[in-house]
């Protein structure tokens, strides 16, 4: 028994080592969203393309969709834009835009020049919905299920790897659920 106890410090040190090693692989700038498994925050904001039309959380229900937070001032948004087009056209997943703290005209121009992957765009000029959602930097991409519940948040660029390994499997999973 005493002999075994002698190994205790070694075991503890090894356990700490494992935890720290695991921590090395984690990106500390990627935070878990506090909104996961909560319904989308209530909002009433104009559409980007049509200022007359008011959009609400009800418009994001019905189908599992991607809610993509973007802005023209965000360089990484430009990087992921072609891939969003691919997701919308090739994979047929509805992509809803949350145009975050942007100018309406530049955002509209961006969509004309680079193509429009979005079903519609929520124009969040003041960043109110972004704040309620816990957005801390664009681009962010959320998976919202049929009932309008936030299921996942990806911070950063969406590319082939992120789509294949993270987003697509989850979208399939939530599409199966009622």
């Amino acid at each position: 028994m005493k002999r075994v106890l002698l190994f205790l410090p070694l075991i503890i040190a090894a356990a700490i080592g494992v935890i720290l090693f695991w921590g090395l692989g984690n990106d500390p700038t990627k935070l878990d969203s506090a909104r996961i498994d909560d319904p989308l925050p209530l909002f009433s904001l104009p559409s980007l393309q049509n200022p007359e039309r008011l959009l609400s959380q009800e418009d994001v229900k019905g189908k599992v969709s991607l809610l993509n937070v973007w802005a023209t001032w965000c360089p990484s948004c430009r990087v992921e834009h072609p891939y969003l087009l691919k997701i919308a056209k090739q994979y047929g997943v509805p992509v809803i835009g949350l145009n975050y703290k942007d100018e309406r005209e530049s955002a509209k121009n961006w969509l004309v020049q680079l193509g429009n992957p979005y079903l519609f765009n929520i124009f969040d000029e003041k960043g109110k919905l972004g704040l309620d959602l816990g957005v801390y930097g664009a681009p962010e991409t959320y998976i919202v299920d049929k009932k309008g519940i936030v299921r996942y948040r990806h911070v950063g660029v969406v590319d082939e790897q992120v789509w294949k390994s993270i987003l697509e499997p989850r979208i399939k999973q939530y599409s199966k659920q009622g």
Binding site: A34, K101, G134
Partner: protein, 160 residues
């Protein structure tokens, strides 16, 4: 003389514009009372910026930190107390945004961990000290019957 006045006025103009531009970046927020102002200062120092993780929102220049400061300001003017404002932020950005997380089931380990480890250490020290004292006392003072016989045997041999 004219030149001197001119250069002095130039200088003061430069100084003033530098001061003005230095002030431009900081928020000029209005409060109804000094209590609200100090509450604002305290809260913005206690809330952590989610973007530039090692700064509080008072120190950070990130746009999101500015938004959060404005939100704190708005909530204070609406009459929310510190707990309500912290709850508002945690609801949106998670426990990450507070340097001093709330005491709830997800943070029990964080808050109680050090005390528990210290307690375990204390118990180990007390137990091992007791054990040692017991061993010492049995070793030195009390001899078993066999040891007594051995002792008297040795002593009697010495006398011979």
């Amino acid at each position: 003389m004219k030149k001197l006045i001119l250069s002095l006025s130039m200088l003061s103009f430069i100084v003033l514009s530098v001061v003005a531009s230095a002030n431009e970046g900081s928020d000029t927020l209005e409060f109804k009372t000094d209590a609200q102002r100090s509450q604002y200062q305290q809260l913005t120092e206690e809330l952590r910026c989610p973007k530039c993780q090692n700064q509080n929102i008072a120190d950070s220049n990130a746009p999101i930190a500015k938004d959060l400061r404005n939100e704190v300001h708005r909530l204070i003017l609406e009459g929310d107390d510190a707990d309500q404002i912290v709850d508002f932020m945690v609801e949106r950005y998670g426990n990450f945004v507070v340097y001093k997380p709330k005491f709830d089931p997800s943070t029990y380990l964080l808050w109680l961990g050090p005390a528990i480890i210290a307690l375990i250490g204390l118990i180990i020290v007390v137990l091992s000290a007791r054990k040692k004292r017991k061993e010492e006392s049995t070793d030195s003072a009390v001899l078993s019957q066999e040891e007594k016989n051995q002792l008297s045997h040795i002593l009697s041999e010495d006398e011979k």
